[in-house]
């Protein structure tokens, strides 16, 4: 893999949903929808997030876009730590303390020289913050992260867009297409009101709809056309990152291929970076450069699509692939049938989360949770026995 710039970097992302019960609505447990995952998305690539229902793929997408507040974790977009942009007072203080100050202090005591301490950090953001911290102290760092958050948030919203799964509920039924698409551009002062017709017309043209459709309402369109409108809306702000959450799942086969082709075309043209979330491994394979397979809030395997399909290493990936029916009646696959259902994320199994269904689970699997580690160049697997199970 060539060294491409990393556009989005997610560190140790967690999202827990509290479960409340009783008269006083006390928090009795947490649904660990996403439990400590890290990944990078490179500039111009499509990262596919695939997994079965309840694996946390949509929650990951929502958290990255800050449509949900993550429980913890660091989300960096284009060389900036965006996590604090959505935080206030004590929350931010705690975050800075946990994420930066502890390791800065440690580095300061480990190295005599301040510059050495700064150089110790690989990450650009760490270095920048360390420099400010060493020179101006905590007050300086706070000032740096706590100014202009309104502006920063606006920047973030413009550059991180989403295409939703359900084209029926994601377009306001009372707005004309023109307003739906233009609203973001006007809010961000990207165009003048007098240019709206031209710009929206061009966007509709780009996604394969007629220009005069801009005067219509969403109910006048079919599912596939609405999904095209959703794409035009996301494109309108010329964002750096687009998260597509099951954007083609609800569509009929013939329309699905049209929308997939459209998404791939506009990605090439605008050099967009995509996170493509879907449950259909075949679709994800077609559209993605790299794929993260998720299981119960964790990443099971993360690698390029070529490697994933040539040499899947996690037993879950292997089983998932063998479970997909191939549209060829002469291929008789020997199928691995996994036992049971996906366990509830409320009470995930101890150790490796996949071990109760895993065909090669051993003692250690029920005790120690395997971390996501690099098995070979650019191929990450979280399994104690990576590569030992083949179909």
């Amino acid at each position: 893999m060539e060294d491409k710039k990393i556009l989005l970097k997610v560190d140790n992302l967690k999202k827990y949903f509290p479960v409340r019960a009783g008269v006083f609505k006390k928090v009795v447990a947490h649904v660990k929808a996403v439990d400590d995952i890290s990944f990078d998305v490179r500039q111009g690539e499509t990262l596919g997030l695939v997994g079965e229902s309840g694996c946390g793929k949509s929650t990951t997408g929502m958290s990255v876009l800050r449509l949900m507040d993550p429980t913890s974790g660091r989300i960096m977009l284009d060389g900036e730590d965006t996590t604090t942009w959505f935080m206030k007072g004590s929350q931010m203080k705690k975050y800075l303390n946990d994420t930066y100050l502890e390791k800065f202090e440690k580095a300061r005591s480990d190295f005599k020289n301040q510059n050495e301490a700064i150089d110790f950090f690989q990450n650009e953001i760490d270095r920048k913050y360390a420099k400010v911290y060493f020179e101006e102290g905590i007050a300086g760092l706070k000032k740096l992260v706590d100014t202009g958050n309104n502006h920063k948030r606006k920047y973030f919203r413009r550059n991180a867009q989403i295409i939703f799964q359900d084209p029926y509920s994601s377009l306001n039924p009372r707005q004309r297409i023109k307003n739906i698409i233009a609203e973001g551009m006007l809010t961000h002062n990207l165009i003048k009101p007098s240019d709206v017709n031209n710009v929206v017309g061009d966007l509709l043209d780009k996604v394969g709809l007629q220009k005069d459709y801009m005067y219509r309402f969403p109910h006048q369109f079919s599912g596939g056309q609405r999904q095209r409108i959703g794409i035009a809306r996301a494109l309108a702000l010329n964002p750096k990152l687009i998260v597509s959450d099951e954007a083609v799942s609800a569509l009929d086969v013939s329309v699905q291929s049209q929308v997939i082709n459209l998404m791939m075309d506009i990605q090439k043209e605008y050099k967009l970076t995509f996170i493509f979330i879907a449950h259909d491994l075949a679709v994800v394979k077609h559209i993605s450069d790299r794929i993260a397979v998720m299981y119960l809030g964790k990443i099971a395997e993360l690698t390029s699509k070529e490697k994933l399909f040539e040499k899947p290493m996690h037993p879950y990936t292997v089983s998932l692939m063998s479970a997909i029916p191939v549209p060829d009646p002469e291929v008789k696959k020997k199928r691995i049938i996994l036992k049971g259902d996906v366990p509830s994320p409320l009470n995930p199994p101890k150790g490796c989360r996949f071990h109760p269904r895993c065909p090669i689970a051993k003692d250690i699997c029920s005790k120690i949770e395997p971390p996501l580690k690099m098995i070979e160049e650019d191929h990450y697997v979280s399994c104690h026995f990576a590569g030992e199970f083949r179909s």
């Binding site: 009929d252 013939s254 075949a282 394979k285 996994l338 259902d341």
Partner: protein, 337 residues
């Protein structure tokens, strides 16, 4: 096909619906035979009439639906002409059905056991106790763990895969000779889908029933069925042996469908896209119904409605350009590269 006597014969079936906007011809002439032990797939996109076909066989149409023409012969008797009490003794007993959404198809206020035993006591004249024993046996057979406990649980206490298993148990409760499965795995995750498909194959081997499998998933069709009917706009556009349909499709719609799905076993640079969308049922073009989306369409296609032509033994296609397709496809492929 097989030398067995067909158990179900559908001849020129038409199902129409009266609506405010006019008569919707949801199914407009389909023919097939179904032999014991075989699996027939009905494939199509939404609005193709595949589900209405199955509901017609079960006589479960809405009140505005009617069958103006055609016959459905089950064991020598015409289902469309049966009296209400006659169809009731067949439905759920000899012809059973599995639905797509197990949560809406199961009744939430009755336990799984109650719902299974209802059919057993009704059709098999068993007493409650024996029926419950049979229900537990059935649940065990479809792979539900702890069936003694599950039989007294309500649908919401079961996972999606479990519910689908329970529904299969219910459908099998009276040893049906035909099982109609309407998108039985569409709402399920792939690993669960694999379990259910495996189960259906095993049960078919054991009980020898015929299955009509209705789905839009071409992978599932290839996996499960012996023969397939491809439907578009309420008509059969292609029909035949499963290997013929996949290896040698002779209708542009079938070919388009096959090439518009991404596959895990083959890399494709760019998917084929059938242009446009399925028109509303009142707005299909004259002539060939697929002509407005077809890359082979000529003037003739726009005015004259093609009939179902025999290509070879047991392989039919409804297209004016059956012979042209193979060459044109080669050109398209070459153009791609």
């Amino acid at each position: 096909m097989s030398d067995k006597e067909p158990i179900l014969k559908v001849k020129n079936l038409k199902t129409y619906f009266k609506t405010e906007d006019g008569i919707v011809k949801a199914v407009n002439g389909i023919d097939f035979d179904l032999c014991p032990g075989e699996t027939l797939a009905i494939v199509g996109e939404s609005g193709s009439g595949k589900s209405v076909t199955s509901l017609s066989i079960m006589r479960l149409l809405d009140t505005n639906g009617y069958i103006p023409e055609g016959e459905i012969i089950y064991k020598g008797k015409n289902v469309t002409k049966m009296s209400d009490s006659e169809i009731r003794s067949v439905r759920g007993n000899e012809i059973a059905m599995i639905f797509q959404e197990p949560m809406t198809a199961l009744n939430p206020v009755f336990t799984i056991g109650e719902q299974i035993t209802e059919a057993i006591t009704l059709h098999m004249k068993m007493n409650e106790e024996d029926a419950k024993t049979r229900a537990v046996d059935l649940l065990r057979k479809v792979g539900i763990p702890e069936p003694e406990k599950r039989v007294d649980q309500y649908p919401h206490e079961l996972s999606g895969g479990m519910r689908q298993r329970a529904m299969i148990a219910m459908a099998l409760s009276c040893n049906p000779s035909i099982l109609i499965a309407d998108e039985p795995t569409t709402a399920l995750d792939v690993t669960i889908q694999a379990q259910i498909l495996e189960l259906m194959k095993d049960l078919q081997k054991e009980f020898g029933m015929a299955i009509i499998f209705i789905t839009h998933d071409l992978g599932v069709v290839a996996e499960m069925s012996d023969r397939a009917i491809v439907m578009y706009g309420g008509e059969t556009v292609e029909q035949g042996d499963i290997v013929n349909i996949y290896k040698n499709p002779r209708h542009p719609y079938t070919w388009g469908l096959m090439n518009s799905i991404p596959r895990i076993d083959i890399d494709t640079e760019r998917l084929w896209a059938i242009p446009g969308v399925v028109p509303s049922p009142l707005n299909f073009p004259k002539g060939c119904k697929f002509s407005n989306r077809c890359f082979l369409a000529s003037d003739k296609c726009k005015t004259d409605h093609p009939g179902l032509e025999t290509i070879e033994n047991d392989h039919f296609s409804r297209c004016w350009h059956i012979d042209k397709l193979v060459e044109e496809v080669k050109k398209v492929r070459a153009g791609d590269k």
